[in-house]
């Protein structure tokens, strides 16, 4: 009898283990909660913003008692892998955060819903910056409602400027002013402290804006040709790469070791070109908090053309709650949600009438500059479904330039040649 008991227990254990193996894979979800409410899931990657989103969701749930919204937080490093896997597996979130570079590829694969008609009431053409709306448009259809955006400014460490006895940057600086100040700073800084940093992969914040200011380009309108070997493009990149050659920026090796953002955060870098998304990070670090401010990017060729990038809310094409998801999407893009997001203070809300809230959260900083150059700003490139192929080439070759193994001219020619091969292949030439 006793033996049988033992056998029975063992059998039971074995069965439970088997069952738990299976139940791990199933996870059937019909988009409803137990009490019959519609359940929406929003996938996102930012922990800071997750808190703001939850506050916003609370407001929405009060207005819509028959809906509950959950956020699904995945770290940036794994976010896209997770989204792609869950879409393949058929249980992806209903609302998905996307950026413009990814949105194009996802739209092409048909995993995002065409929301052109669904958000007609939001009148995105008139209520959101042109560049952003274009960024989420593919083949004439809209695939995401702009959520927030980032533009760039010249951040500076007041303490290092004071120490070196150099006057603070101003909004009307040119590239020449920046360079002159950097040279002056260098004389007054210690070992391990640097005036400015221009990393090989910092195009979004540094040279890409200058490329447009100078009349150069990265990709042409109809995505068939690259402007990487355009002399005007090369000239603009040279202006920033020159900082490395002249030794006023850390070397490529040093920046590989410690990212410029981290150097600035650690109080070792006097000036840094970066987006508004770094502000919360800087504020959380005692070393730099209260010691920095920001001005408009220095003008190049007389222009302050900047690069704009940002996030959008997209809808999973396979959502089980299409109607509710679209209703929620319309709310997210509306005045109330955009105001709440802006007041949360982590990002600049994309909606024109809600952009000012972000700067108001920190009157002590010169944050208005992030919305000053929107008219001229260009969307981050290369916005094509195969952007990662192009970026891989660009990174590898620019890394060689920055390491001093080839000249910038050789590098840009190589990039142009390889990009053109990819473009021709993808355009079916």
């Amino acid at each position: 009898m006793r033996k049988n008991w033992k056998k029975l227990i063992a059998l039971g254990l074995a069965l439970t283990m088997t069952v738990s193996v299976f139940s791990g894979c199933g996870n059937k979800d019909d988009g409803k909660t137990k009490d019959g409410k519609t359940k929406l899931v929003m996938a996102l990657w930012d922990e800071e913003q997750n808190k703001v989103m939850k506050e916003m969701i609370k407001v929405y749930e009060e207005e819509n008692p028959d809906v509950t919204v959950e956020t699904q937080l995945t770290t940036w490093a794994e976010y896209w892998t997770k989204i792609e896997a869950s879409i393949t597996g058929g249980d992806a979130a209903d609302i998905i955060w996307v950026n413009a570079l990814k949105a194009v590829g996802y739209a092409e694969s048909g995993v995002l819903m065409d929301i052109t008609e669904a958000v007609a009431d939001l009148d995105v053409e008139n209520n959101f910056p042109r560049a952003l709306v274009d960024g989420y448009t593919y083949d004439g259809k809209l695939y995401a409602v702009p959520k927030d955006f980032d533009t760039n400014g010249l951040f500076y460490n007041k303490e290092l400027f004071d120490k070196a006895g150099v006057a603070y940057p101003t909004d009307d600086w040119t590239m020449e002013d920046l360079k002159a100040a950097a040279i002056e700073l260098q004389a007054g800084l210690e070992d391990g402290e640097y005036p400015i940093a221009a990393a090989y992969n910092s195009g979004q914040t540094t040279y890409e804006g200058s490329v447009y200011a100078n009349g150069g380009y990265i990709l042409n309108e109809d995505r068939t040709e690259t402007g990487w070997n355009d002399p005007k493009t090369v000239e603009a990149v040279q202006a920033w790469y020159g900082f490395v050659e002249e030794g006023i920026s850390p070397t490529s090796e040093q920046m590989a070791d410690t990212l410029p953002d981290t150097m600035f955060e650690g109080g070792k870098l006097a000036m840094l070109m970066v987006g508004n998304y770094m502000i919360s990070t800087f504020e959380q670090n005692e070393v730099i908090n209260g010691k920095f401010d920001v001005v408009r990017r220095p003008s190049f060729n007389g222009k302050k053309t900047d690069i704009i990038n940002g996030l959008g809310y997209a809808v999973n094409a396979a959502t089980k709650n299409e109607e509710e998801a679209i209703k929620f999407l319309n709310w997210l893009g509306g005045e109330e949600a955009m105001r709440l997001q802006g007041q949360g203070g982590t990002v600049i809300s994309a909606r024109n009438d809600a952009q000012h809230y972000f700067a108001e959260t920190r009157p002590e900083l010169n944050l208005d500059i992030f919305t000053m150059d929107l008219e001229e700003a260009k969307m981050l490139e290369p916005r094509v479904p195969y952007y990662s192929d192009l970026m891989t080439v660009q990174r590898e070759i620019l890394a060689e330039v920055w390491a001093g193994n080839i000249t910038l001219e050789e590098g840009t020619n190589q990039i142009a040649e390889k990009w053109q091969d990819v473009l021709d292949e993808k355009n079916g030439k």
Binding site: C25, W80, G105, S252, Q254, D257, T392
Partner: protein
């Protein structure tokens, strides 16, 4: 006659035993079911899928279009593959022997009767139970060119520092140092278990015959733990061939030298998850599979020459 009786007795015993054996088998199958089902679902099936994917163009969302041998043609003309293969081979040749050598030395010392033995054992085992990500991040900071401890240390001897992980010529060696450091603990545990299984009587006999302790080590300890050494050699080689996390964490895609320190597995990851060519990535992993299999078969044959099972 009695013999015949005996054999019939044995026969009936066997019969009875057969039934019992069958019951035992059923029980045994139920016991291994969770493992077998897990293996089938998470190893065998993905492997079959991987073979199929390697003959397809697979996009980010696993939509596959058959393209025959295209992935393999691309594979053998991809300069990145040979770079990655060379990096991986270099890594194996350096990390595996050094790691095994040091592990044997440490295990032998820990097997001796020294004071505070268990403290040392814990210390050596700690890196093994520490998260690889935490290990990598800490070492990345130690090797930092401007603010790292390693350069501070070199500075004490008047040596000039260097951006160890920012230079393609040194980064891979730094990663190897960390790999050896963090791998010793596991090897030592395996070797210690082997060493403690050796009967004292061998050493007593050797001592009576006048063998020195060094001689005892080479003539008794090494041959008798050779199965353990063989085990850590095989698993170590396979592990080294698949190295990825330390490269990803200590150098990483943002680092300009990343393309130059890619190992096979990092190249696979890049194609599968960074650029999204899953079909091509599957071909890379098939290539890895074949190489690992060949190396392992060679080792299994070679072991007959030096591994003693007694």
């Amino acid at each position: 006659m009695s013999g015949k009786n005996d054999s019939s007795k044995v026969y009936s015993y066997k019969e009875k035993n057969g039934k019992r054996q069958r019951n035992d088998w059923i029980a045994a199958y139920i016991f291994i079911a969770p493992l077998v089902i897990g293996l089938a679902a998470f190893y065998v099936w993905p492997f079959i899928q991987n073979v199929w994917f390697s003959f397809n163009d697979v996009n980010k969302f696993n939509v596959a279009t058959f393209n025959g041998l295209d992935n393999y043609k691309k594979l053998f003309s991809d300069p990145a593959l040979w770079g990655a293969l060379w990096n991986t081979v270099k890594y194996i040749i350096i990390v595996v022997p050094i790691s095994i050598f040091l592990s044997i030395v440490v295990a032998a010392l820990l097997n001796a009767s020294i004071k505070g033995k268990s403290i040392y054992r814990t210390l050596y085992f700690l890196p093994t139970v520490t998260m690889p990500v935490a290990v990598s991040l800490t070492w990345r900071w130690i090797f930092n060119g401007d603010y790292g401890l390693f350069n501070e240390f070199l500075g004490l001897f008047g040596m000039k520092g260097h951006a160890w992980l920012g230079d393609a010529n040194t980064a891979l060696y730094m990663i190897m140092i960390v790999a050896v450091w963090s791998g010793i603990g596991y090897n030592v545990i395996i070797l210690l278990a082997g060493m403690q299984g050796i009967s004292r009587s061998y050493y007593e006999a050797a001592a009576i015959d006048g063998a020195s302790s060094v001689r005892q080590f080479f003539k008794i300890t090494i041959p008798l733990v050779s199965p353990s050494i063989f085990f850590i050699l095989i698993t170590g080689m396979i592990g080294a061939f698949q190295v990825f996390d330390s490269i990803f964490m200590m150098v990483g895609p943002e680092n300009p030298i990343y393309p130059k320190v890619l190992t096979m597995n990092a190249l696979f990851y890049r194609n599968a998850f960074e650029t999204g060519y899953k079909g091509y990535a599957s071909a890379i992993s098939m290539f890895m599979f074949v190489i690992i299999m060949i190396i392992t078969v060679i080792q299994l044959i070679g072991q007959k020459k030096w591994v003693h099972y007694d």
